[in-house]
């Protein structure tokens, strides 16, 4: 069984849809960076878009982009990961409810407030009656979606899957998360994040979408070798998991060209990645990406996008390298390691093919 990433699309703090930014990414100094939206008219009929919140427009546009690239308009599965779901609509309904004491409410925002609105709107647009689901497990929502698809390929239940990760960060939610130290208090820049001596990162948004298929074609970007989730793993359990993942594909620690981590400048967050590196991949280059995108529950979708692009282009620019000063070339295997508050952990292994 092989699973290939056939197409990928993203909307983030970097230039949307394409990957021209990849070798010259934008840098930020704000605590809150919203995504750069594409011209949605190129993807969605304005009549349809009018009723949609930002996250839905982004989800639909990225989905339609991977559908267009692959011609797969009825994927066997549509699976979305989203930490917060359609939080903008949730807030609108909640605000009106609290403000007006449960009076004069309209159903529109409620109807599009549930997390599964995203996957179901994609299905509705594609008129796709097949498998459709949604994961909402904080920082590993995207990986949960990828795992679901992976297993269904393994079981022969599907031949194609549209897998996505979407989270928006509304101004109100930014403020709430600021109260519980999600964001740094002062100016944010690469040096501050690298220093990692205080709590918090900076806020970003993430939309990414991938079309997976069980056959290699001219379009194929890279191969998805594995995805695993862990809850509160001991170092021993993590060691076991890495060994299992590598040995399953006849790989050795040295075969991993780079470990792409979720280092984000928060001291409690980052120490876990440094320990991971020291314990399991002491010789392997370490990369990061959240300094270019901000923190988001489904940021790992962007990590997957970056790793896939790096494998396809055979280059990982120095902008992404945490502990090296020269570009990495000839990449074959990238391991993405992500954890959320040191509770939920996940590994994704991508390979050239």
């Amino acid at each position: 069984m092989n699973i290939y990433i056939q197409a990928a699309a993203q909307i983030s703090a970097q230039e949307p849809m394409g990957n021209a930014w990849f070798q010259r990414p934008l840098r930020f100094t704000e605590r809150y960076v919203r995504s750069i939206d594409p011209n949605f008219k190129e993807y969605i009929n304005p009549m349809e878009a009018r009723r949609m919140g930002k996250i839905l427009k982004r989800a639909l546009a990225t989905s339609l982009e991977v559908v267009r690239k692959t011609g797969i308009d009825h994927p066997d599965a549509i699976i979305t990961g989203t930490g917060l779901g359609c939080i903008e609509n949730t807030e609108k309904f909640l605000t009106a409810m609290v403000r007006d004491g449960e009076m004069y409410l309209q159903p529109t925002y409620f109807m599009q407030s549930t997390h599964n609105t995203i996957s179901s709107q994609i299905a509705l647009h594609l008129k796709c009656n097949k498998y459709n689901t949604t994961y909402a497990q904080r920082g590993i929502s995207f990986e949960s979606s990828l795992l679901d698809a992976y297993m269904q390929f393994e079981l022969g239940k599907i031949k194609s899957a549209l897998v996505a990760g979407h989270d928006e960060m509304t101004p109100d939610y930014f403020v709430l998360l600021d109260k519980i130290n999600y964001w740094k208090k002062g100016e944010v820049n690469e040096a501050v994040l690298r220093k990692s001596d205080s709590l918090g990162s900076f806020a970003g948004e993430a939309s990414s979408c991938f079309m997976l298929e069980n056959k290699k074609t001219d379009l194929t970007i890279c191969e998805l070798k594995g995805v695993d989730l862990f809850f509160n793993p001991s170092p021993l359990r993590m060691k076991e998991a890495i060994e299992e993942l590598l040995s399953k594909h006849n790989l050795h620690i040295n075969d991993i060209d780079v470990v792409l981590t979720g280092i984000n400048g928060d001291k409690d967050n980052d120490v876990v990645y440094h320990q991971f590196q020291q314990h399991f991949f002491p010789e392997t280059p370490m990369a990061w990406y959240k300094h270019l995108f901000g923190e988001s529950f489904t940021a790992t979708g962007l990590a997957t996008y970056i790793a896939a692009t790096a494998i396809q282009k055979q280059i990982l620019p120095v902008d992404y390298l945490y502990n090296r000063t020269s570009t990495l070339n000839g990449l074959k295997k990238i391991l993405i390691y992500n954890h959320f508050q040191n509770k939920d952990h996940a590994l994704i292994l991508l390979s050239s093919c």
Binding site: V98, M103, H115, S120, N132
Partner: protein, 395 residues
């Protein structure tokens, strides 16, 4: 990969009470758990609900959770139910190697967020408890040893999809046991949401009745412990039943309404039967989604007619007992379906009097004693997220 998946334990809490015994007793005596609202503080207190008759404080006390621990009602209900499931499956005494916990929820910590919104003055800690994943973690942390956890949020089919993911985790050998299901407390948020959609009945709901008006909201939690048949045997556990088939499809018709011919529901039932390698005539009882709304019952009813034609097995909606427990409904009704299998008993569809003109069948009006082999449980959600699970007696 084709090994039989069995259910080796289950737990439940709903308006019918805490535990399987309380549930079967209420079902047998046709005593509905729907009634006057006690704990939710809303101006819509005149809507009848299937409320769990325990305050948060009472549950904290029962579970030994200190008053200063940040926890919302959704995970409290979940912990109540998971305790019963873990005990029956003897997960502590005869521990499987790797165990997954898959939780379905949509409301998450909303019931606290809506109290403290928008400022969360002096209650900042509840900000982090808002999202669905936090509820899952709070439940997972009460049992030492979950290796993998995640949350599914497909509205009212969340718990059914948790069952499906758990089965796939077992079939691919990723874990040796999976605790799967869902939990959801009543919140003003979704009570008001359903109210604006005008799909709440001010009286007891009447699923599959021509004069149905809408649904009654409920709350609750339920979990199943799934494992491979050979693992249950190795652990010396006598399973309750098999999970013989399941399917997830999408109606792809409308964000909140079901298609008139029930295409998504039809495909879910058809594919679940195919997965179970069963024919429609093998099904002895359908525990319907049956919300009691105009739209659902005609759509689901048409889909049932399309699958079963002339030979429609007994159908009932036990939402007439529990109310619509939304994200928990899939596992609440799976537990009820399995209790039906175990006791060769079909629970009544309460409050039914007038047949729907669109349908060629009527639901079961009274409790029925009948030998049951295969039971089908339907769970449908907003966004057309339709799933079906089939449970079978081990014979």
């Amino acid at each position: 990969m084709n090994e039989t998946i069995v259910v080796s334990g289950m737990g439940i809490i709903t308006g019918l009470g805490y535990g399987k015994e309380a549930t079967i007793t209420a079902l047998r005596s046709k005593r509905s758990g729907i009634g006057k609202m006690h704990y939710l503080n809303t101006i819509h207190a005149d809507y009848p609900v299937g409320e769990v008759k325990m305050s948060d404080e009472k549950m904290r006390e029962f579970l030994g959770i200190p008053a200063d621990k940040i926890i919302t009602r959704t995970p409290l209900l979940g912990i109540m139910a998971i305790k019963e499931a873990i005990k029956e499956a003897q997960l502590e005494e005869k521990r499987p190697r790797r165990i997954a916990f898959i939780n379905g929820t949509t409301v998450g910590g909303m019931e606290k967020s809506e109290q403290y919104y928008p400022e969360f003055v002096n209650t900042e800690a509840y900000i982090a408890a808002h999202d669905c994943g936090t509820s899952c973690e709070a439940i997972a942390e009460t049992f030492e040893g979950f290796d993998l956890i995640t949350t599914i949020s497909t509205a009212c089919s969340s718990a059914a999809n948790a069952i499906i993911l758990g089965a796939n985790l077992l079939k691919t050998g990723r874990v040796d046991a999976a605790v799967v299901g869902g939990t959801e407390c009543l919140s003003k948020f979704h009570l008001n949401g359903f109210s604006t959609l005008m799909i709440l009945d001010k009286e007891a709901c009447k699923p599959f009745d021509a004069n149905r008006v809408g649904l009654n909201l409920g709350e609750g939690a339920a979990y199943l412990v799934l494992e491979k048949q050979s693992d249950a045997k190795r652990r010396g556990i006598t399973p309750l039943c098999k999970l013989s088939g399941y399917a997830n499809t999408c109606d792809a018709f409308h964000q909140t309404a079901s298609s008139p011919d029930g295409q998504g529901a039809y495909l879910a039932m058809r594919d679940a039967l195919e997965d179970a390698k069963l024919k429609p005539e093998d099904i002895d009882y359908i525990n319907a989604h049956g919300t009691g709304t105009q739209n659902n019952d005609v759509s689901e009813g048409m889909a049932i007619v399309r699958i079963f034609n002339e030979n429609i097995p007994p159908v009932s909606s036990t939402k007439s007992f529990t109310g619509h427990t939304t994200s928990a409904a899939g596992s609440v009704e799976s537990v009820i379906s399995i209790l039906a299998l175990q006791h060769d008993f079909i629970p009544a569809n309460l409050n039914f009097t007038t047949p729907m003109p669109e349908l060629s069948f009527t639901p079961v009006k009274d409790n029925v004693t009948k030998k049951l082999h295969h039971v089908l449980s339907n769970s449908f959600g907003f966004g057309g997220n339709d799933s079906a699970c089939i449970f079978s007696k081990i014979e």
